[in-house]
């Protein structure tokens, strides 16, 4: 089942290359729908009572260097895999008119990215993770560079460099981890690594390396400078994929490998990480307020919202971890919705400038449905109750407040500031009067509105019935949190001695 999730898109992509241009869309829709169905089956098969990896597959591959093909899904990766499937399906089925040419190539690249992300999330071998992580890079670089705005080649190159550095750092960290825990072959198997323990100094070093790598990917301030350019210059479906799920590789890595593998070091660094997260939220919000380009504004809002996940990870309580995973899904849905709507507005109106946009809620001549969904999307991002953004943020704040009250307060202020810039956006874009001289915009067809409606429907549904969001992750997060607690106690006891008895082997 899990292998199917990875290889079906790859085989599908290859098959599509053989199809003629006119049939390629049908082929892609079939593949994406099959993946979505598989995701639903996966959700059904998943047992929410188990904390360990389920549906595991293990194929020995390169045993002597420790690289094995081992897959498994647990409460942390399942929601993200489902999100991946949903976003890919929406992009392939409905985002045709945003891509003006070479559509077949686009489908192929998108499916490859999907496969890479799925593979990274499903692998329980750290080297396999890095392999899939790097696999995502080239298709993504191509997708950004071929379709997009005027500065896309610059943005794509910047993205490539930053992400490649991030990949190198992560690879270095895993290799070092593998060699340092070798007995005698390096250990890259996740479950095994979880049971081992390293001296605190080593842990801290490795943690910092991995943290750096994942912080560039997520991104967290101050490693975020590739994000605004890349998001703004990419075409709408690309940025939906990027912001919706590819960025989550960074936060997934954070939860899985940083918190999961180095609980002691993490506990030590947590207070500083929490403050870092709080400041990141504030920074993202404040820069977003000053933007004049609506796509750039949403991009900066993305940076702010990712820092909530960092905060949740820092606290590492069961509640905050659930909140963090919820925020990953919520942020993915909301960001995809916002970027899609901004893309529709740009296409129909012709501009993204806040000073020029006005009056789009006009029922007959404006874009009323698009504007209405933009309002809902803004509300969701700002954490209004009833929508999924509130669920995720509330869980994060509940989980982190007892441990790190000050950073939590920063983040709550950041939520308030989110409302500020979204009100600015909505006030200027949706309300007001249309300019009589220029407001002759084409209609938004039903098919163009469908992805936004589906995403909004999910946002409302999960906001009203959050159990469907959190029930998958409860057991897994409890396990991670427990580990962190117990390791914390052990490390406190052994704080004076810098070596662990296990290392003597």
């Amino acid at each position: 089942m899990l292998s199917a999730l990875i290889w079906l898109p790859v085989i599908g992509a290859l098959a599509i290359t053989l199809l003629p241009q006119s049939q390629s869309k049908k082929g892609a829709i079939i593949v994406a729908s099959a993946i979505l169905i598989l995701d639903v089956l996966l959700l059904k098969q998943f047992d929410t009572n188990l904390a360990a990896f389920q549906l595991s597959e293990n194929l020995p591959w390169l045993e002597n260097i420790g690289l094995n093909y081992s897959l498994g899904v647990d409460g942390l990766s399942l929601p993200l895999v489902a999100l991946n499937g949903l976003l890919t399906w929406l992009i392939i089925c409905f985002c045709e008119n945003q891509i003006k040419e070479r559509f077949k190539l686009f489908q192929v690249l998108m499916l490859l990215i999907h496969a890479g992300v799925s593979g990274a999330m499903l692998s329980t071998n750290t080297l396999l993770f890095v392999l899939f992580y790097e696999l995502v890079l080239i298709p993504l670089y191509l997708i950004i560079a071929v379709w997009g705005g005027l500065q896309r080649s610059y943005a794509a190159m910047k993205f490539l460099i930053f992400t490649a550095v991030s990949g190198i750092l992560i690879l270095a960290g895993f290799l070092a981890l593998g060699w340092l825990t070798a007995n005698p072959t390096p250990i890259f198997d996740y479950s095994t690594l979880q049971t081992l323990s390293l001296p605190l100094e080593v842990q801290i070093t490795l943690l910092v390396v991995l943290l750096l790598g994942f912080s560039i990917k997520a991104p967290f301030v101050p490693f975020h400078s590739w994000l605004p350019d890349t998001y703004v210059e990419s075409a709408t479906p690309t940025v939906m994929m990027l912001g919706g799920i590819v960025a989550k590789l960074g936060t997934y890595g954070l939860f899985r490998f940083c918190v999961g593998l180095f609980p002691d070091a993490w506990a030590l660094l947590a207070p500083y990480i929490a403050i870092w997260a709080g400041l990141g939220v504030l920074y993202g919000a404040m820069v977003a307020i000053s933007q004049k380009d609506i796509k750039r504004m949403v991009a900066y809002s993305s940076i702010g919202h990712m820092s909530y996940i960092l905060l949740a990870a820092a606290a590492a309580t069961p509640l905050s971890l659930i909140g963090g995973i919820g925020q990953m899904v919520s942020h993915g849905l909301v960001l995809a919705l916002l970027f899609y709507l901004v893309g529709v507005i740009e296409e129909k109106v012709g501009t993204r400038d806040l000073d020029l946009l006005n009056g789009l809620l006009n029922p007959l001549r404006g874009l009323p449905t698009t504007s209405a969904l933009l309002i809902l999307g803004g509300m969701a991002s700002a954490g209004i109750p009833g929508l999924v953004g509130f669920i995720a943020e509330f869980l994060v704040f509940q989980g982190t407040f007892t441990k790190f009250p000050i950073p939590t307060i920063f983040s709550i202020i950041g939520t308030g500031l989110t409302a500020v810039y979204f009100v600015i956006l909505l006030n200027r874009t949706c309300f007001g009067k249309l300019d009589n001289a220029t407001a002759y915009y084409p209609k938004v067809s039903g098919l163009e509105q469908l992805p936004a409606l589906i995403l909004t429907g999910l946002i409302i549904f999960l906001g009203v019935q959050p159990v469907w969001l959190v029930k998958w992750s409860e057991k897994a997060t409890v396990k991670i949190a427990e580990q962190s607690e117990s390791k914390l106690l052990v490390s406190q006891v052994l704080n004076e001695s810098l070596t662990s008895p296990l290392i003597k082997n």
């Binding site: 029922p363 007959l364 001549r365 009067k433 249309l434 009589n436 001289a437 407001a439 084409p442």
Partner: protein
């Protein structure tokens, strides 16, 4: 803006006005609206679409003024009785005082059909049509009446008369007769006589508007018929038809009488000599075309914000200044009128609108823009009629007279060039010169 410059036709040098082209066109006997076949089609189509609901408006306004009068809870004031549907329009039909329209004097057949079937196109009891709001939007007519009532001081003799002692006596008699055998209302009248008097004045304005529109409906119907026959060569022809109509009807009496239990009470008698031109037409054009009031939600009513003018003369929210794009949004009054007109558009306009902008989806706005053009034409007719009545013929040989004409035209157009409150940006006279303004 105009594609070609319109040269002056009189012996005067070219005008220096920002709208010099329009001035020259007016001096040549034309309208503020450029003379194109498309413009002619749009305005005549909208005159016809406006005249059918107007047929209902004037009948119902007279019903409200004459029969409903001071009813405290007039729940059924829009349920027009058969008697008023059969009320003979004085300016159509065989027994007309002056026959404008070749058609019948009773309610227009299209109106009757709509009243029975509505937009739903089914025959259901009138009450259900009314509750579903599938009817002629009489609220618009009352809004026009309220605009005329609130913007007092627009000239004419009716204004001071409504404040006079004679009016008070007439009103007193009518109020007492209306509320005979009703001690509660009579008691309230003793306590608050000014309240009842003001309601009576409002009723008078209702009658004035009803009498005004009684003329306009057959005039518009006749214009539509003449156009269908090909009788109009261009927009100036249509405008001149209106000008002669204005003169023909200028002396029509304006009055207010109330029917109380079969007896007619004169509140504003015909013998006072109030005329259609001075007491109805000029105030109507001033109040409804130029002034009205800002649509709720589009202007800040906060006095410190200074968005709404302090002086009523500076109000600039009428059809000539209106932004047509918000039509269809809540709280924008012309939406009601446009929905009414939408039901009675001639087929040639329905086909025409399908070709532009969003086709059927924004027909409401497209017809709104055409309506704005047609009202610019009516205003041009009023301006030209004013010139003919108070100033000199267009071909007058005396240059002093021609200069006076020019001052008049420029003064009229200066109302669209006032920078206060951004009136000059709001005025749509520049935009209607462009055929692509839809």
């Amino acid at each position: 803006m105009t594609a070609t410059l319109v040269p002056p036709t009189t012996q005067l040098p070219p005008s220096n006005h920002p709208y010099a082209d329009v001035i020259h066109r007016l001096e040549a006997g034309g309208s503020m609206l450029p003379d194109t076949p498309e413009n002619l089609m749009q305005i005549i189509g909208l005159y016809k679409a406006y005249a059918v609901p107007m047929d209902f408006y004037w009948r119902d306004l007279l019903y409200i003024a004459e029969q409903v009068f001071l009813e405290p809870l007039p729940a059924f004031k829009y349920f027009l009785p058969q008697e008023y549907l059969d009320l003979r329009n004085h300016y159509a039909g065989d027994d007309a005082d002056w026959r404008f329209w070749r058609g019948e004097a009773t309610a227009h057949p299209e109106l009757l059909e709509f009243m029975s079937k509505g937009e739903l196109n089914t025959k259901i009891p009138k009450l259900f049509h009314h509750l579903y709001h599938d009817r002629i939007n009489m609220e618009f007519a009352e809004e026009c009446m309220r605009a005329m009532f609130w913007h007092r001081n627009m000239g004419g003799e009716l204004e001071p008369y409504m404040d006079s002692e004679e009016y008070r006596q007439n009103a007193d008699r009518a109020i007492r007769a209306y509320f005979k055998n009703n001690p509660i209302m009579l008691g309230l009248y003793k306590l608050f006589p000014e309240l009842f008097l003001e309601q009576c004045r409002q009723s008078t304005m209702t009658s004035v508007l009803g009498l005004f529109w009684e003329i306009m409906a057959p005039v518009f119907f006749e214009m539509s018929d003449v156009y269908d026959e090909g009788g109009f060569k261009g927009v100036p022809d249509a405008m001149n038809f209106l000008v002669s109509g204005i003169f023909a009807i200028a002396g029509r009496p304006i009055y207010h009488r109330v029917n109380i239990r079969g007896e007619w009470f004169e509140i504003v008698p015909k013998s006072k000599g109030f005329t259609w031109l001075y007491e109805a037409a000029f105030p109507y054009v001033e109040a409804v075309f130029y002034r009205t009031s800002p649509f709720r939600g589009t202007k800040s009513y906060n006095a410190q914000a200074n968005e709404v003018p302090k002086d009523q003369n500076d109000f600039h929210y009428g059809i000539l200044y209106a932004d047509k794009f918000p039509v269809g949004s809540a709280g924008i009054p012309p939406t009601l009128l446009h929905q009414d007109m939408y039901h009675f558009l001639p087929q040639y306009l329905v086909d025409y609108y399908k070709q532009f902008c969003r086709g059927e989806d924004d027909t409401l706005i497209q017809l709104g823009v055409s309506f704005q053009r047609s009202m610019y034409n009516v205003t041009s007719a009023v301006i030209q009629a004013g010139r003919a009545a108070f100033l000199y013929p267009l071909d007058d040989p005396n240059p002093k007279h021609l200069l006076a004409n020019r001052h008049y035209f420029e003064g009229q157009l200066n109302r669209f060039c006032n920078p206060k409150y951004e009136m000059d940006k709001a005025a749509r006279i520049g935009m209607v010169q462009d055929q692509n303004y839809r």
